[in-house]
C-alpha cells in the first residue's frame, strides 16, 4: 500500500524508461514511442516457474517438464485418480457404464479446456496493444506488485484474482503478464464468449477456458471442472486466473463473492497436493468503463445483448472515444498456508483417514473458504485506485445536490475537503489526483472525460448533470445509474461509517438500540456491500466528523431507499412473497419505484431504486434476516415461494423510514462545520 495521493512523483523508471507515477508505471507510453512488432516478437526472459514442482518431486506426471501442452493437461485430467474414482462412484450409483462416463468427461473437457499458445498470445496481443493505445491514456501497473508476483511465481502455484469490471479486464491482465515476462495465466471465463465465432477460439488460444454458469447438480461436469482446475494448480506452470465476483460488476460495487472456483483451488492445498498456494488480488480501475452505458440498461432490466462477433464490430465506435487511464494494483500475494494459520481452526490432517481421492471440504474449511473470498474482495476495494470523478459523482449525488447546477467554486471547495478528509481517515490511500492542477481544473478535466454524464457550464461556472428529458424515464434512470456507479467505487471506504451513523441516528432506533440496528442493517446489506466486516461488535466511530458522517449517510441512502422499496411492495402485496422468486419481487419493487418517480421525479434517492441489482440484493437481505424464508418445496426447485414474517418486515420498514429521508443538514449546507475541520 502507499499513502496519500501519488500524483506529485511523475518520473521515468530508470531501468525501463517508462513514465512513473508514484508506485505505478505506464505501459502504454512505451508502445506509443516504439513499434509493437518488436514487442510481440521479442524473447521473454527468465519467466519464473515454481520451484515446488522441480526436480522430480511432483506426483503429477512421470516426466517433469518446464512446460506442458494443453493436450498433456487434458490427458492428465482424464487419467487422474480423482476423476476415475468419482466417475466409478457415479457409475455404481446410476448404472451408467464407465466408458460412457469417461467419454462424457472427455467431451466436457473438450468444451472447457484452453489451448494456450504463445503464437496466439503474440498475435492477439498485437491487436490489443493497438486498441489500448487508441482508447487509453495510460495503463498503469504497480511495479512492486509485479516484483512480488514474480517471486511468488517462482515458489508456489499462483492464482490471479482480479476484480471484474469490464471485458477488458482479462485482455489487459494477460497483456501485463506478457509484458512483464510473467507466466501467462489460464483464465476461467463464462461460456458467453464460447459461442462467438473466431473470438471464442482466439480467447481459447490466449489461455481462456470456459465454464458453464450453473452446473451444481451435474456431477460429471463438477468432477471434470475441479480436476481441470486442480491439475493447473498442481502443475503450477500457468497461474489460474478467475473472477471471484463471478461476473462483471455493473454497479461499480464489489459483487458478493462466488466460492466454487476458489473451493477447487483451496482443495488442492487442503488435500496437501501442493505445499502452498499464493492468491494475488488484482484491483483494476478504469477512469471510464467501456460497458458503462450497457450496464445501466442491464440494471434496469433491458436484456443484455448476446455476445456476438458482429456486435463487437458495431462497438467499433468506441475506438474513437477517450476512456482515460487504467490502473492495475497487484496486491501482496497471500500465502494460503499463512492465511489458514491466522484464520485458525483448519486441521488438514482430518483428511488422513480416507483415501485422497475422496476429497471433500470440511465445515471448517468451507468457513475458511468464505472468509478467504471476502478477504480478497476487501483487498480489491482497499487497493483500487480511485479517480477524482468518483468523489465528484459522490458529491453531486449527495442529498439531491445536483438537481440544479452546482457552482464550480463551491464544488471545488467540497471536493478539496472530501479529498483531504478521506486521506486523513486513511481509507482512501490511492486517489489518482493530478497534483499540478488546481481543484477547479481537475473538475473541468473530469467533465471533459465524462461529458456524457456531467457538463461544465462555462458561462455560469457551474457543474450540471447531463439529463434526458423527464418523459424518457428509462434514459434518465440510466444516466443516474451510470453516475452512481462512480460513487459506488468509494462506497467501501465509507460504508462502515455510514452504517454506524445510521445505527446511532436517534430517530431510527425504534427502541431497539444502536447495536441491534447496526446488526440488522449489516445483514440486510450483506450482499449490497460484501466488504462489510463480519466483526461481532459495532465499531465505535463516535469521533467521526459530523460533516463526514453526513456525507457517508447520503452515500448510503439510495441503497436503503431500495430496501425500503422492497419492504413497501411486500407489505402492499402480501401475496407476492409466497408466489414469487427473488427476481420477481425485485421487479415488482422496480415497478413501484418507477410509478413513484412518474408522480414525483424530485424523489432524488429513489432514482436508484430502479436498479434490479440493488433490489435483488435487498431481497437477499430479507432472507438473511429470516424475514423471508424459502418454503420447503421452493428451496429444492430454486424458484419462488417464500414465507414472510410480516410483523418483522413492518418493524424493519419503520427502521428504514427515517434513514431514507433526506436530512435538512446536508453536506453542503452547513458552512459552519468547515471551520471545525
Amino acid at each position: 500500500m502507499f499513502n496519500g495521493s501519488f500524483s506529485d512523483t511523475w518520473q521515468a523508471n530508470e531501468k525501463t524508461g517508462r513514465p512513473r507515477k508514484g508506485v505505478f508505471e505506464d505501459l502504454v507510453d512505451e508502445r506509443r514511442q516504439r513499434g509493437d512488432l518488436g514487442w510481440v516478437l521479442r524473447t521473454r526472459r527468465s519467466v519464473p516457474s515454481p520451484a515446488f514442482c522441480a526436480a522430480g518431486t511432483s506426483a503429477a506426471s512421470a516426466a517433469i517438464k518446464s512446460s506442458k501442452s494443453p493436450a498433456d493437461i487434458n490427458r492428465d485430467v482424464l487419467s487422474s485418480d480423482r476423476l476415475t474414482y468419482g466417475l466409478r462412484e457415479i457409475s455404481l450409483e446410476t448404472g451408467r457404464p464407465m466408458p460412457e462416463l469417461m467419454s462424457e468427461a472427455g467431451a466436457i473437457l473438450d468444451e472447457m479446456s484452453h489451448c494456450l499458445s504463445m503464437f496466439a498470445i503474440r498475435s492477439f496481443g498485437y491487436a490489443v496493444a493497438k486498441v489500448m493505445k487508441r482508447i487509453y491514456r495510460g495503463v498503469f501497473v504497480n511495479t512492486e506488485g509485479i516484483t512480488q508476483l514474480r517471486k511468488a511465481c517462482s515458489e508456489y502455484p499462483v492464482v490471479l484474482m482480479p476484480m471484474h469490471r469490464s471485458y477488458a479486464d482479462f485482455l489487459l491482465l494477460s497483456l501485463v503478464c506478457y509484458d512483464y515476462d510473467l507466466p501467462l495465466p489460464a483464465i476461467a471465463s463464462a461460456m458467453d464468449f464460447m459461442g462467438m465465432q473466431l473470438i471464442g477460439s482466439i480467447l481459447r488460444n490466449c489461455g481462456a477456458f470456459f465454464i458453464r454458469r450453473s452446473f451444481a447438480t451435474d456431477r460429471v461436469y463438477w468432477l471434470t471442472f475441479v480436476e481441470y482446475v486442480k491439475t493447473h494448480v498442481r502443475d503450477g506452470l500457468h497461474p489460474v486466473e478467475f473472477f471471484i465476483e463471478g461476473t462483471r460488476s455493473r454497479t461499480g460495487k464489489s459483487l458478493y463473492p462466488k466460492t466454487g472456483m476458489l473451493g477447487a483451488i483451496l482443495e488442492s492445498w487442503f488435500m496437501c497436493e501442493v505445499p502452498d498456494v499464493y492468491l494475488v488480488p488484482v484491483s483494476i480501475s478504469y477512469d471510464r468503463t467501456l460497458e458503462q452505458k450497457l450496464y445501466a440498461y442491464e440494471l434496469l432490466g433491458v436484456p443484455k445483448p448476446k455476445e456476438s462477433t458482429s456486435g463487437l464490430l458495431k462497438a467499433r465506435a468506441l475506438l474513437d472515444e477517450d476512456f482515460g487511464s487504467v490502473h492495475f494494483y497487484f496486491d501482496q500475494p497471500i500465502s494460503l498456508r499463512k492465511f489458514a494459520t491466522e484464520y485458525g481452526g483448519v486441521d488438514r490432517s482430518v483428511h488422513s483417514l480416507a483415501p485422497k481421492v475422496k476429497a471433500q471440504l470440511t465445515d471448517a474449511e468451507t468457513r475458511m473458504l468464505k472468509a478467504m473470498a471476502h478477504h480478497v474482495v476487501s483487498r480489491h476495494c482497499l487497493n483500487a485506485v480511485v479517480s477524482p470523478f468518483c468523489l465528484l459523482a459522490a458529491l453531486l449525488l449527495a442529498d439531491g445536490r445536483a438537481c440544479r447546477p452546482v457552482p464550480l467554486t463551491e464544488l471545488a471547495a467540497d471536493l478539496e475537503w472530501l479529498r483531504l478528509r478521506l486521506a486523513d481517515v486513511g481509507s482512501l490511500a490511492s486517489l489518482d489526483w493530478p497534483a499540478q492542477l488546481s481543484t477547479e481544473a481537475v473538475i473541468a478535466e473530469q467533465c471533459r472525460l465524462h461529458s456524457d454524464l456531467v457538463t461544465l457550464l462555462t458561462k455560469d461556472q457551474a457543474v450540471a448533470l447531463v439529463t434526458a428529458p423527464d418523459s424518457d424515464l428509462e434514459a434518465r434512470a440510466a444516466q443516474r445509474l451510470q453516475l452512481s456507479s462512480y460513487r459506488n467505487h468509494i462506497m467501501c471506504h465509507v460504508i462502515e461509517l455510514a452504517l454506524y451513523d445510521a445505527a446511532t441516528l436517534k430517530s431510527s432506533d425504534g427502541g431497539l438500540g444502536a447495536a441491534a440496528v447496526f446488526d440488522t442493517l449489516r445483514h440486510l446489506l450483506h450482499r449490497e456491500f460484501p466488504t462489510i466486516s463480519d466483526a461481532e461488535e459495532m465499531p465505535d466511530m463516535a469521533d467521526a466528523l459530523p460533516r463526514l458522517r453526513n456525507f457517508a449517510r447520503a452515500c448510503l441512502r439510495p441503497s436503503l431507499a431500495g430496501c425500503s422499496q422492497v419492504c413497501s411492495v411486500l407489505l402492499e402485496q402480501p401475496e407476492l412473497a409466497a408466489q414469487s422468486s427473488e427476481r420477481h419481487i425485485a421487479m415488482a419493487a422496480q415497478k413501484r419505484a418507477f410509478a413513484n418517480l412518474v408522480s414525483n421525479p424530485s424523489l432524488w434517492d429513489d432514482w436508484e431504486s430502479v436498479s434490479l441489482d440493488l433490489l435483488v440484493n435487498a431481497v437477499h437481505g430479507l432472507h438473511r434476516l429470516r424475514i423471508l424464508t424459502k418454503s420447503r418445496g421452493a428451496a429444492a426447485t430454486g424458484d419462488g415461494g417464500s414465507s414472510c414474517d410480516f410483523e418483522r418486515l413492518r418493524r424493519l420498514h419503520l427502521i428504514l423510514d427515517p434513514l431514507t429521508r433526506t436530512q435538512p443538514d446536508g453536506v453542503h449546507e452547513v458552512p459552519s462545520t468547515r471551520s471545525r475541520l
Binding site: 515446488f52 526436480a55 522430480g56 512421470a62 496437501c272 497436493e273 502452498d276 490432517s349 488422513s352
Partner: protein
C-alpha cells in the same frame, strides 16, 4: 526341518560344543561398563572415529572401524559449502567440560543407598557415569553437551546383572520413593532419557548393559532367550558364530539394546525378511512396581484378550523395565548381496517401490534416496584410488546422464540388500530389476549399494562435524500411506526450508529425505535437515520450531507421529491427538495401576497426572 544334524558334523561335539557355546553366550560386551572409556562424551559413537580435517581442503574419517575409515573425501568440503554455506575456516568447537564440572547428585535417598549396598548392587555416582546416562542423542542434547550442561542428571547409576536383581531394585525404589529411568544403549532421539525438570526425588539410572547374556537358544523352534541389555552388534556377532541371526538392524545397531528396541517399538532395515520388533518378539519379561508381567507360554500366536506385549512395546520406560526377551532367530543367510538402482527422478523411484510392495517382492532392504542425498553420498566418495576406477566412473556417468538422459540434479538412487540362498537372491534380483525397468530405473551396480548401507553408520558422525562448523542437523521419520508419500516428501522438505528462511537462516538449508521401508499399505520416510546458524542467536530453539512445523506438516499430510523413534518428550504435544483422548486415558489408567507411586517417572508419552512428581504433590497436599 532343522539343519541341526548337519551342523553338528562341522562343529566341536559334545561338551566342548556346550562350553564354546557357553563362552559365546556370556562373552562381555564390546561396550565397556564405563562407557566413557570407549565412547565420545559429547558426540556420536567411538572416540577414535570422527570426521577430521587433514589439511585446508580435505576431510578424512579417522580410526579403523568402518569401511570409510582412513580414506580422504576430497569433495566433502565443497559439498558443505554448497549445501550448507559452511566454511572450513569458521569453526565452532565444543566447550570443554571437566569431569569435576559435572554437577553433583542433588538428591540422595539414604534408605535406598544403604539397601543397595546391602544387596550388593553395582552402582556409581561418579560424574561421567551419570552424565552418560542423563541424555540421548537429539540435537538439543548434543548441543547442550557442547555448550553447557543439563539442569539435572541422574543422581546414581545402578547396574543390575540379572532379572532377579532388577526385581529387587524396582521393589526397593518403590519402597523408598526413588525414581528409576531405564537405560539401554543411550541412543534415544526423543528426549526419553532426560530427567524431568520438576522431579524432586532421587533419580536413579537403571543401566541394563550388564544384563547382556544369551540365556539359551532353542534351535528346534528357532527362538532364543536374551537378557534385555544386550546391544545389537553383540547379539548379531555372537549369534553369527553359532550360525544364526536375528536380522533386526536399526541404524543404531552398534549401540542400541534389545530392551530399548522393545520399549520403543523399534524397526530394523531388514524387516521385509525378518520383521520389525513386534514380529520378532515371542515373549517378554517386564518388571513393574506391582509385579512382573509375562505370558505363560512361548506359543507363536495367541488369542487371550488384548495383547499385553503391545502395552510393553512402546511404553518408553514409563511403566516398567524389560529384563528378558525371547526372540525369533534365523539361520544366517547363505548369500548377502547389495544392489542399487538409478531413477530419472524421485517420483519414479517411489512408484517402483510401490510396485515392489504391491507384488510383495521387496528385498531384505530397499531404500530410496532423493537427489540431495544422492549428491551427499557422492560427496563422501573417497578419492579415486586409480585410473581404472576413475575411468569406470566416467563411463557410468556417461551412460546414466547422456545415454539415458538422467539429469544429475534430478535423479534418485535406491540401494538394495538381498539375503537368502544364491538361487533366491538371483531370482529376486532379476524380478526387482525388471520391475525397476518398468519405472525407467537402471541398475547402478553393487558397489554403490554397499556404500549406501555403509554410510548409514557413518552419517550419524557427520552431525558432530557439522556442529564444529556452525551447522546443526537432525533427522526424523514418519510413516504414510502410499498415495501421500510424494506429496508429503515434497511438502515437508519445502516447509523446512521456508520455516528456516522465515526465521532468518540465510545460507542454503539442507532438507532431504529417503524412503527407508515399504509396507503393503504405505512407506516409512526419513528426513534429514541441517542449516548453518552462524549469526543466529538461538539455533536450538530455532531448530525446535522448525522441527515442530515440519511435524505439523507431516501430520497434515497424513503421516504418523513416528514410525519407530517414538514419542518420548519431544513429541508429547501431538500424542493425544494421534491416538484419541480415551486411548490416552486408558494408557494413563494402566500407568497408575502398574506404577502407583510413579517410580518410572521418566515422563515419556505424557506427563504423569498431577505434575511431573505425582508423589510429592500428594505429600504437599497432606
Amino acid at each position: 526341518s532343522m539343519p541341526d544334524d548337519s551342523k553338528s558334523d562341522e562343529k566341536p561335539s559334545g561338551s566342548d560344543k556346550e562350553t564354546a557355546k557357553d563362552s559365546v553366550f556370556k562373552r562381555p560386551s564390546v561396550i565397556p561398563k564405563h562407557r566413557q572409556d570407549l565412547l565420545k562424551w559429547n558426540g556420536w559413537g567411538y572416540q577414535d572415529s570422527q570426521f577430521a580435517v587433514t589439511n585446508q581442503r580435505t576431510l578424512t574419517f579417522t580410526g579403523q572401524r568402518y569401511q570409510l575409515s582412513g580414506s580422504e573425501m576430497p569433495a566433502l568440503v565443497e559439498w558443505m559449502e554448497k549445501a550448507l554455506g559452511a566454511s572450513i575456516d569458521q569453526r565452532s568447537p565444543a566447550k570443554f567440560t571437566r569431569p569435576e564440572n559435572i554437577p553433583p547428585p542433588v538428591q540422595v535417598n539414604a534408605d535406598f543407598m544403604s539397601a543397595i549396598r546391602q544387596l550388593g548392587l553395582s552402582h556409581s555416582d561418579a560424574g561421567p557415569d551419570r552424565l552418560f546416562r542423563g541424555h540421548g542423542h537429539t540435537l538439543e542434547e548434543m548441543f547442550t553437551l557442547r555448550e553447557g550442561m543439563f539442569p539435572r542428571l541422574p543422581d546414581l547409576v545402578v547396574w543390575p546383572t540379572s532379572h532377579r536383581e532388577v526385581v529387587e531394585l524396582v521393589n526397593l525404589a518403590n519402597r523408598c520413593g526413588v525414581v528409576l529411568i531405564p537405560f539401554g544403549g543411550g541412543t534415544s532421539v526423543t528426549g526419553a532419557l532426560l530427567c524431568p525438570s520438576g522431579e524432586r526425588r532421587m533419580i536413579v539410572s537403571l543401566d541394563t548393559s550388564q544384563m547382556n547374556r544369551i540365556l539359551w537358544l532353542d534351535e528346534r523352534n528357532l527362538i532364543g532367550r536374551f537378557e534385555a541389555g544386550i546391544i545389537g552388534q553383540d547379539l548379531e556377532a555372537r549369534l553369527a558364530e553359532l550360525g544364526y541371526c536375528i536380522g533386526h538392524e536399526p541404524d543404531s545397531l552398534e549401540f542400541s539394546s534389545l530392551g530399548g528396541w522393545v520399549a520403543t517399538r523399534a524397526s530394523g532395515m531388514k524387516k521385509n525378511v525378518y520383521g520389525n520388533i513386534e514380529d520378532l518378539l515371542v515373549h517378554v519379561t517386564f518388571v513393574t512396581p506391582t509385579g512382573v508381567i509375562e505370558k505363560s507360554c512361548a506359543a507363536p500366536r495367541v488369542s487371550v484378550g488384548p495383547d499385553v506385549h503391545h502395552l510393553i512395546m512402546g511404553s518408553e520406560g514409563s511403566l516398567g523395565v524389560v529384563t528378558e526377551v525371547t526372540l525369533k532367530i534365523r539361520p544366517l543367510p547363505q548369500t548377502r548381496r547389495y544392489g542399487s538402482l538409478v531413477f530419472a527422478d524421485f517420483a519414479s523411484g517411489v512408484r517402483c517401490l510401490r510396485e515392489l510392495a504391491l507384488r510383495r517382492c521387496a528385498p531384505a532392504s530397499v531404500r530410496l534416496m532423493d537427489n540431495e542425498q544422492f549428491q551427499f553420498g557422492h560427496a563422501l566418495r573417497p578419492a579415486a584410488s586409480g585410473w581404472t576406477t576413475a575411468f569406470v566412473d566416467a563411463v557410468k556417468r556417461f551412460y546414466v546422464t547422456r545415454v539415458r538422459g538422467f539429469k544429475p540434479d534430478e535423479l534418485a538412487v535406491a540401494t538394495l540388500l538381498y539375503e537368502g540362498t544364491p538361487e533366491e537372491v538371483a531370482q529376486q534380483e532379476a524380478l526387482v530389476n525388471s520391475i525397476a525397468a518398468n519405472h525407467g530405473g537402471i541398475s547402478g551396480g553393487e558397489e554403490n549399494g554397499r556404500r549406501g548401507y555403509m554410510l548409514t553408520f557413518v552419517i550419524a558422525y557427520l552431525r558432530d562435524l557439522g556442529l564444529d562448523y556452525y551447522c546443526v542437523g537432525e533427522s526424523f521419520e514418519t510413516s504414510v500411506p502410499w498415495d501421500r508419500v510424494l506429496d508429503l516428501c515434497r511438502n515437508v522438505k519445502l516447509r523446512i526450508k521456508e520455516e528456516c528462511r522465515s526465521r532468518g537462516v540465510t545460507q542454503p538449508v539442507l532438507s532431504t529425505c529417503r524412503v527407508t521401508q515399504t509396507y503393503d499399505a504405505g512407506a516409512c520416510v526419513y528426513f534429514y535437515f541441517a542449516y548453518n546458524y552462524r549469526g543466529l542467536p538461538d539455533p536450538v530453539h530455532l531448530y525446535e520450531e522448525v522441527e515442530n512445523a515440519a511435524r505439523d506438516e507431516i501430520l497434515a499430510n497424513g503421516g504418523s507421529l513416528s514410525h519407530h523413534h517414538g514419542v518420548g518428550k519431544i513429541r508429547q504435544r501431538w500424542y493425544s491427538r494421534s491416538v484419541s483422548e480415551p486411548a490416552v486415558a486408558a494408557v494413563r489408567a494402566v500407568k497408575s495401576r502398574l506404577d502407583p507411586n510413579n517410580v518410572f517417572a521418566c515422563g515419556n508419552l505424557f506427563e504423569p497426572a498431577g505434575g511431573p512428581d505425582g508423589q510429592t504433590e500428594q505429600k504437599a497436599k497432606l
